[in-house]
């Protein structure tokens, strides 16, 4: 079986081959045309494919509606990125599976058979789940249902478009392992699309690297990874953090700066139910001058809540946050002087900038409040300096957030965070929404700023490998509790807690 696409301007001259039982992975930054290449031949995007796409002997480009339907329904299965939205909300899991099974000609599967299909993808209590609606399932469970639905009619080709990107780090490994197993078992050919090299490594036989609609490099996975030929591939390899790379040289650490004592954050349960959710329980940690500390955990582990409590933008139920002996109160009780000590940077760079404001005003906002003594001219000069520090020129001053790329927007957010000379930055997944190359450059920028301004950093992330490039120490959170804390190298070499082991295995 061969898939070939060529001609179209967004994606040009792409040759992809997937053999039965093998997995071909396409890697590229967002906008590189990797999803387009996979979905357009099936008529699933607005684009038009030219050239030649052959699936099991059917020419997809010239296929009529009937043949196309056959190719889509019987020969192919699709798994998409967002398990939240890819399942129909008003159909039970069983109904969705049955619908998927019907694609390849009407066949009535018994309840028992449907439950077996769910068990096959590793869902417990399968019989019960058949009657549940998608919103009752967690993200990982939904993605398993998606996979079950994609293979229930025994397709020959499985197209998985970023199947693990929306999932928790520790779940990613499990889902990839499941896909591998199923591939071997059913002789499936698999086309795997991802922006993250680390997540496909070891799961694919062939690797294709795409950039700006062109194939940069392709070949057997092991060869491409071990011995990349093209400049872009080399940079991509270097940008992908690994636990095996040599430990970075980190700047020296000064005196203790901030200390949290038994910080606890509780939220009332939503709706009319009584009781409270404990998001963070008795978290005690310290950050010293010039030190970078990683707070690592899966989603829902309370790491963001802890970061927000420290940054003074989230609630604090009990416990204390000490700053060089002084107690920092909760949220709105903080004085302007306290505000200027700690500044946050968020995960979604575009959402963290007010869409109605210009870059100039966004960056100047902390100065207006925290340094009201400054003259307008001084302020303008400092804004330009801060933008310069994060590698953006004066031409960005008048831009609005919508016209910025993710990386540029995150640089603006960092400029806003550092302009009032804080001593601690709280980075909440600051690189995880970005492409690997861009994310790595943001990490480099942070390391540079840390050295130049003697900044302390609290890096909240799910990705231990990227945290290792920047951080001295690591704090592992699981379900609100600190389960492990210590030097980065020591924890990675000898993890004690189960959740730490899972996170390390996932990166």
């Amino acid at each position: 079986m061969a898939i070939q696409i060529g001609g179209k301007r967004l994606v040009d001259g792409v040759n992809i081959t997937v053999e039965a039982g093998k997995c071909t992975a396409i890697i590229g930054a967002s906008g590189s045309g990797k999803s387009l290449s996979c979905l357009t031949p099936f008529g699933l995007t607005p684009g038009e494919a030219q050239g030649s796409v052959k699936l099991d002997g059917i020419e997809l480009i010239e296929a009529d509606a009937h043949q196309m339907r056959k190719a889509r329904s019987r020969l192919t299965g699709f798994v998409f990125q967002q398990p939240l939205t890819a399942l129909t909300p008003h159909l039970t899991i069983g109904a969705q599976l049955q619908e998927a099974a019907d694609q390849a000609g009407p066949q009535r599967l018994s309840r028992h058979e449907l439950a077996q299909k769910l068990e096959r993808v590793g869902l417990s209590r399968a019989d019960e789940r058949l009657d549940q609606f998608p919103h009752r399932l967690s993200g990982g469970e939904r993605q398993r249902v998606m996979i079950a639905a994609a293979i229930v009619h025994r397709p020959k080709l499985l197209i998985a478009d970023e199947p693990t990107s929306a999932l928790d780090a520790s779940l990613r490994g499990e889902i990839m392992a499941l896909l591998d197993e199923l591939r071997a078992e059913q002789g499936l050919a698999m086309l795997l699309v991802s922006h993250d090299l680390a997540s496909v490594e070891g799961h694919s036989d062939d690797l294709i690297v795409m950039d700006q609609g062109k194939v940069i490099e392709s070949g057997p996975s092991a060869d491409v990874i071990a011995n990349p030929q093209e400049e872009y591939t080399k940079r991509l390899m270097a940008a992908t953090p690994r636990l095996t790379e040599p430990a970075p040289v980190l700047p020296a650490v000064g005196n203790m700066l901030m200390e949290t004592e038994a910080v606890t954050v509780m939220f009332p349960r939503p709706g009319w139910r009584r009781g409270k959710i404990e998001a963070v329980v008795d978290a005690s940690l310290t950050v010293s001058e010039g030190e970078a500390v990683a707070i690592v955990g899966g989603s829902g582990s309370g790491k963001s809540t802890l970061g927000r409590a420290i940054a003074g933008i989230g609630p604090l139920t009990s416990g204390r946050i000490n700053w060089q002996g002084e107690v920092l109160p909760e949220r709105r009780a903080r004085s302007l002087a306290m505000r200027s000590l700690i500044q946050p940077v968020f995960q979604d760079p575009v959402a963290s900038l007010d869409p109605q404001w210009k870059v100039q005003d966004i960056v100047a906002e902390p100065l207006k409040n925290l340094r009201p003594d400054l003259l307008r001219t001084d302020r303008d000069r400092m804004v330009e300096e801060a933008l310069d520090d994060v590698g953006l020129g004066a031409e960005y001053l008048q831009r609005v957030p919508n016209s910025l790329s993710g990386g540029q927007a995150q640089r603006v957010a960092i400029a806003r965070a550092i302009i009032a000379s804080p001593q601690l930055l709280v980075l909440d997944e600051a690189t995880s929404a970005l492409d690997p190359l861009v994310g790595a450059s943001i990490l480099e920028l942070l390391a540079k700023l840390q050295q130049a301004n003697k900044l302390s950093i609290l890096l909240i992330t799910h990705d231990i490998a990227s945290a290792r490039r920047l951080c001295h120490r690591i704090v592992v959170l699981d379900e609100g509790h600190i389960v492990e804390m210590g030097d980065m190298a020591a924890v990675i070499d000898d993890p004690k807690a189960d959740s730490t082991k899972r996170l390390i295995a996932a990166s």
Binding site: R308, A311, G312, I313, G314, R331, R332, L336, R339, S340, I342, Q343, P344, F346, Q347, D348, A351, S352, L353, D354, P355, Q356, E365, P366, K368, N369, L370, A413, R416, A417, A420
Partner: protein, 266 residues
Amino acid sequence: MRALFSRDHWPLWVVLVLIALALVLPAVLPWTYDQIDWDAVRAPAFSGSHIFGTDEIGRDRLARLAAGTRVTLMVAIAAALVSLIVGIAWGATAGWVGGKVDEAMMRFVDALYALPFMFIVILLMVIFGRSILLVFIGIGLVEWLTMARVVRGQVMALKQRPFILAAEAAGTPPLTIILKHVLPNIAGVALAYLMLTVPQVVMVESFLSFLGLGVQEPLTSLGILVKEGADDMDMTPLGLLLPGGLLVLLLVCLTIEGERLRDIYS
């Protein structure tokens, strides 16, 4: 803003042209809306200086149409603005403060929703007599409820956005955050619902006037004109068709435009 000049926004332009006509025509026409031409009672269209003829007591139909449109739109726009201001203030407060305050404020809105408001307006009219002010109060009492709900939802969604948290971390005081960050970002949605409120108020006002509860003679509104036309439609159908057609045109254009704006912003 520039997008408003594109051809997609023709309903807005139709409404604006009609408003301009309603404002300019009374100054240009030889007859005023309450002036009786004793020589031309029930004149047909295009007779002498009466382009659309006169009604059953000899008043110029075009002049009355312009005056009626003016009154109707004035009531509608004023009531919509009142609903905008009250609705935004109420909804933004509830959404921003949250918790128990939010619960209490929104239950109050629900309670008002449950009142049969047309009944209350009629009662008010009966007790205090007919006046244009009561029409305002009656309509304003109800129309801000939807706006408050919409704004509250928007504010609650915005409150979670990182840029609001970043502003808080930057030491921006809460009131400034609301004025500079929150309100500009809900302006689009609020504008869309304002556009949808106007036709609703037009409907309510016309309905009240049709029942004889709206504005007083000789002052007129589209609702009164439709009622007068309906009384006399077997003799002169033009008297019903003109105000009726104008009312439909206004409602359709405002609703299309409002829904289009709503689709853009939400």
